[in-house]
Subunit: 222 residues, 2 copies
DNA sequence: AAGAAAAATGAATTTTTTTTCATTATTAAG
DNA sequence: CTTAATAATGAAAAAAAATTCATTTTTCTT
């Protein structure tokens, strides 16, 4: 995951960075709120960890800015004091969670997991490679503009993407995407795959849906 | 809101009940986990507050049960000890938030607000009267079973419901639901309204979409 | 390299959805 | 009670989407 830590205490920042990096994440550190804002506006993080009190711009202000600009990235606030007012304020300004110092790395990690999981399961978007699916409006966007899909094509793509990296058999697609519980002697799947591929390739220039002979289809993100 | 408090300490339970009632909520108290489970299975709460340690069934176990049964109601856990392991566990088992005792009523209230708001803005359902719209799968359910709508019918219903109580002009529908920015000399809207009404009335026995002569349409929930 | 199974393809057909049209019913206002 | 505007309706036409079909291409096995 891409994680931003905004924390002016270098010792804490470095310790967190080291620990999170060991978990396999990419961590960027900002030393004050201003720096944090710059990073947030240019990079897409999976989670942002903000210290409450920071030079120049405070964590709450950064948080407010994030929300005002429509950014929904999960935010965790670090508060030094465990005053009730602070906690209330944190939630009010759109933070997703907060931790009172001092805290263990284990706890922070658990919160990150929880907050990211919550975000992903509640978000109505599915992003992979150069594709962004708007699950609510059933639209697909690429850097080169929207791809207009029919209902079945969208359902199929959504299913493949949400199981990316796994081979999906045609029987499975028949049951899930087509909602048929009998095997028909048709090739609708092949045809729909073909049409979907054509539309994707038109915009992306490459084929993300691979066939696995005798087994099914698999969506590849890189 | 409908709130369930599961707490064996009667003093705490009653104090919370009183305070929450003063805020205008309906509060039900369960004295142990078993009682809580029974209530949860029969009543639809807006938020459930569970004490961690309770006789018979603990709060975490209640929480696990809630999630296993697919219930997505927001859960707040009350923990006596502020041990890290507890907090981690709470999130792991699907709680949405937790508070460490002792806590102020003000804090609990803020957390309830946050958790419910988060739930409502992130939920993919729209419920009104006897209708439940599954926004992700674009399906509509009633107590008497599913209503199968076409795409346009669903979009129209969704728009009317999310503006229930307000009169929606045909010009507005043209722009939003049909995505046309010119006024056409057609009556698609009237026709679609008619078909939608027919399907709704078939299952609900009544017409929820009223016409306002010369102004537009309005969705009425009661 | 040849044969058989599986997958891809182009085009036709069927089904569903969306829109239009002509007519009837309802509403508000004089 | 009429009249004119607005809304509802049934049915047809047009458009779009889903499925089928016949054929070609690819892949794996021997």
């Amino acid at each position: 995951m891409e994680i931003l830590i905004a924390e002016d205490d270098e010792q804490i920042a470095n310790s967190l960075k080291k620990n999170l990096a060991e978990e396999g994440h990419h961590v960027m550190v900002a030393n004050d709120g201003q720096e944090a804002l710059r990073s947030i506006d240019s990079i897409l993080f999976d989670v942002v960890i903000l210290d409450w009190r920071m030079p120049k711009v405070t964590g709450v202000e950064v948080c407010k800015h994030i929300r005002n600009s429509g950014n929904k990235v999960p935010v965790i606030l670090l508060t030094a004091l465990s005053q009730v007012a602070n906690k209330v304020e944190a939630l009010k300004y759109g933070a997703d969670d907060y931790i009172t110092k001092p805290f263990s790395f284990e706890e922070l990690n658990a919160r990150i997991q929880a907050v990211v999981r919550r975000y992903q399961t509640n978000s109505n978007e599915l992003t992979v490679a150069n594709l962004n699916l708007d699950l609510l409006n059933r639209k697909v966007f690429t850097p080169r503009g929207e791809i207009s899909l029919t209902g079945k094509e969208f359902d199929l793509l959504k299913y493949l993407i949400s199981h990316k990296g796994f081979i999906i058999s045609k029987e499975e697609l028949t049951k899930t995407v087509w909602d048929w519980n009998f095997s028909t002697g048709t090739n609708v799947i092949e045809v729909t795959i073909k049409n979907l591929r054509k539309k994707l390739e038109e915009k992306l220039g490459k084929n993300l849906i691979k066939s696995v002979y005798g087994e099914g289809y698999i969506f590849i993100s890189e």
